[in-house]
């Protein structure tokens, strides 16, 4: 049969060439879409993992999951969420819109771009291949069970036999290489590919923030890559980096991991800021307030975030000046972040606000990100952290940032840019249902999750005794998940339905001001047949209002 198929070339059917088209593409828009779709699939998968864990924790002494399976689930949930949902979806939007917003034909290195995507994609597939190795699938196969930060010496061959940890290590190594490639591309694109007139000071904040994110990825992901190479040397070659029996120090892994891990939070939140900074002004009908301050605050957050990592190690024990240093630097992050929140509020202030779905998600972001930031400041206080580190209070805190902040910003981006990417509007009605049900579910789950943390419930326990007073709160958290899942179903239905049947969008459905709305929806392969003249930060405003252009005031 094989000989036959070589001798007689297969007929090039429509669908086959379409598939090849996507597999071999180097077009930034297609790669961006692939990132996003890939991440959405993993979003659903990690959501299912969360559902299983919440069923297990809803009641005390539950036997729904085994301890082993629970360990594998929280490891996979966390790892997937950071590396295969948040990173690719944010890089995907950046890939799609940075070139469009700066009037470029493509990213600086299109083939590197495709390479980066496929590295990330293979990383995710490799991670999930672990489920199908080792023991029974019901108990999670040989999926890693070391937590998403994989502390030593739990990852040593003695405590993690089998290959679960190697799957974790290798897949993240691949994804890390992909992310570094994407970062190289973002920086080179923003610095070298801008259209005439688009000076750095006239770039949309979206491009600025992706530039900073790129820089942060370069210096933050690399330490993880280094630490993972060391872990590989330990596990495959018999090295002793994190082996206490030979004098190695497990705490070194903690340092290396969090030198990556803390800036990683900003690698995720800064592109989310980028979404908010584009969507919020358009729906407030005002230019962004304090553009230079926003750029400076972004760069400031990027720098400061590199010097705060040891706030994850307060309970490990540090000298008092170490504690003081990391408490202070962590609290300093609140200053540029506060500047941003005030600037967004000032943008809304006095604006003619349109409460369309993208704007609703922006407003949700503002509230929830603020609260998540405040619990962050609480946890940054070393004595408070000694009490509550590794409790459900921490879990609630970072889900407030990741779900309440980052995911809400991603939803805003979806409702805002879906028309540009597909040419069709997402349904507003379904969008509002999605928003309100998700808000309800989010607050049920994560507001009430703070309480068992305060009452002393540690994270990562697969069950707990009755009579500790944790049951009610856990039950409420689990009930919230039902609403979140329903909202996600509405969202997915909305995407699929609108993709085929949605109202036609036209070039510029939101009456927006940045360059991506100057071209067709979806844009042609070459992006722009002619790039509009850029003389201000809102080139489309200038075109629409020649009598009162922005460049007179900037």
């Amino acid at each position: 049969m094989a000989a036959d198929s070589i001798a007689v070339p297969l007929p090039r059917t429509e669908s086959r060439s379409l598939l090849l088209d996507w597999l071999c593409t180097v077009d930034h828009k297609k790669i961006g879409m692939m990132y996003i779709v890939y991440a959405l699939i993993f979003l659903v998968i990690m959501g299912c993992e969360a559902i299983l864990m919440r069923i297990q924790l809803a009641r005390p002494e539950s036997t729904f999951l085994s301890a082993d399976a629970f360990n594998r689930l929280f490891t996979m949930h966390g790892t997937t969420g950071i590396f295969f949902v948040a990173m690719p979806i944010l890089i995907g939007f950046g890939n799609y819109f940075v070139p469009l917003m700066i009037g470029a034909r493509d990213m600086a290195f299109p083939r590197l771009n495709a390479f980066s995507f496929w590295m990330t994609a293979f990383g995710g597939i490799l991670l999930y291949a672990s489920f199908f190795t080792g023991g029974s699938l019901l108990h999670g196969g040989d999926a890693p069970a070391v937590g998403w930060f994989a502390y030593a010496p739990l990852t040593s061959p003695a405590f993690s036999p089998g290959h679960g940890t190697d799957f974790w290590n290798l897949s993240l190594l691949l994804a890390g290489i992909g992310s570094i490639g994407a970062a190289v591309n973002f920086i080179a694109t923003v610095l070298c590919m801008r259209c005439p007139g688009m000076t750095l000071g006239k770039m949309p904040l979206f491009a600025w923030m992706n530039l900073v994110t790129g820089g942060l990825i370069l210096v933050a992901i690399s330490p993880l890559t280094a630490a993972q190479l060391m872990l590989m040397a330990d596990r495959f070659l018999g090295g002793h980096f994190f082996d206490p029996a030979a004098g190695g120090q497990p705490v070194m892994w903690m340092h290396f991991f969090w030198i990556f891990g803390h800036p990683e939070v900003y690698v995720l939140i800064i592109p989310s800021f980028a979404f908010i900074s584009e969507v919020l002004p358009v729906f407030s009908r005002k230019a962004i307030f304090g553009y230079p301050a926003m750029v400076a605050a972004t760069a400031g957050i990027g720098f400061v975030s590199l010097g705060v990592w040891a706030h994850h190690l307060f309970t490990v024990g540090m000298p008092s000046y170490g504690n003081a240093f990391f408490v202070l630097t962590t609290m300093v992050v609140a200053v540029p972040t506060g500047i941003k929140i005030f600037n967004w509020l000032a943008t809304m202030w006095g604006g003619k606000i349109r409460f369309a779905t993208p704007m609703l998600f922006c407003i949700g972001f503002l509230f929830q990100f603020l609260i998540g930031g405040l619990t962050g400041v609480m946890l940054a206080t070393a004595p408070f952290d000694w009490q509550l580190n590794n409790s459900y209070f921490v879990v609630a805190h970072f889900h407030y940032i990741i779900v309440g902040g980052i995911l809400f910003a991603i939803f805003a981006a979806f409702y805002y840019w879906f028309p540009k990417m597909t040419g069709r509007m997402l349904s507003e009605k379904l969008g509002k249902w999605h928003f309100w049900i998700f808000v309800l579910g989010f607050h049920l789950t994560f507001d009430f999750m703070h309480v068992p943390g305060l009452l002393g419930m540690p994270r990562r326990v697969y069950t707990y005794q009755a009579g500790r007073g944790w049951g009610v709160w856990n039950m409420i958290s689990s009930i919230g998940v039902i609403f979140q899942a329903a909202a996600i179903l509405i969202f997915v239905y909305n995407i699929v339905h609108s993709y085929f049947r949605g109202a036609l969008a036209g070039n510029d459905p939101w009456d927006a001001w940045t360059l991506e709305w100057a071209t067709t929806s979806p844009p042609a392969e070459y992006n722009f047949s002619s790039v509009p003249a850029v003389r201000s930060r809102r080139p489309l405003w200038d075109i629409k209002h020649p009598e009162d252009p922005d460049w007179k005031y900037e």
Partner: protein, 198 residues
């Protein structure tokens, strides 16, 4: 409104000097530096904390000749690229070849050092903490030299077939940036491993 296409063209001309190839290479160098930094930190933290021998003093000999070779290859690389920029192709090929050879001598030197350690001293990555950090740091650098040599050899082969011309000087200079970086890293690794660590 005095916006004429000419002003835009002027601005564009101002923006040109940033080459995306160079920016991309600078980014790569930044990321690589961070990786090396972590390995260097691990080396320094674990210096002298091995529970058993051998110690660096017992077995390390300072690789003077190979170090001189690698560092001088930066100079020959510089001469090669500037010859190419001026269109002197024969000179370019000569210096490029010398660079390639100097890099190869360095890598062979490392190979001989490792061979002696493993087969005569019985000193491997598994022996002690010093072995773990030594082989990883020096090996990480050597693997970068190897990647550089593969790239250099590719250009050399193309040059011998007459495919490398003056208009390719930008690309060769970008490759040279990587080579200079690898050399600079050796200065750090050398200082840490054969200086401070010994």
């Amino acid at each position: 409104m005095s916006a004429t296409p000419a002003t835009f063209a002027d601005e564009a001309a101002e923006l040109r000097p940033l080459s995306r190839g160079r920016v991309g290479m600078w980014c790569l160098i930044t990321a690589e530096s961070a990786i090396f930094l972590i390995f260097v930190i691990a080396y320094l933290v674990y210096m002298g904390t091995s529970l058993d021998g051998p110690t660096p003093k017992q077995i390390l000999t300072v690789p003077v000749i190979t170090t001189i070779c690698l560092l001088s290859s930066s100079a020959t690389m510089h001469w090669a690229t500037s010859a190419l920029r001026r269109g002197k192709l024969a000179l370019f090929r000569l210096f490029w070849f010398v660079t390639l050879m100097l890099g190869t001598i360095f890598l062979v030197g490392t190979g001989r050092e490792w061979h002696r350690f493993i087969y005569q001293e019985n000193f491997t990555i598994h022996t002690n903490l010093f072995g773990t950090t030594f082989y990883s740091l020096v090996g990480l650098h050597a693997s970068h030299v190897a990647v550089g040599l593969i790239a250099l050899a590719t250009v050399m082969i193309l040059a011998l077939f007459g495919k490398v011309k003056q208009e390719h000087s930008e690309r060769c200079e970008i490759l040279a940036m990587y080579w200079h970086f690898v050399d600079a890293v050796w200065v750090v690794v050398f200082t840490v491993v054969y200086g401070l660590g010994r």
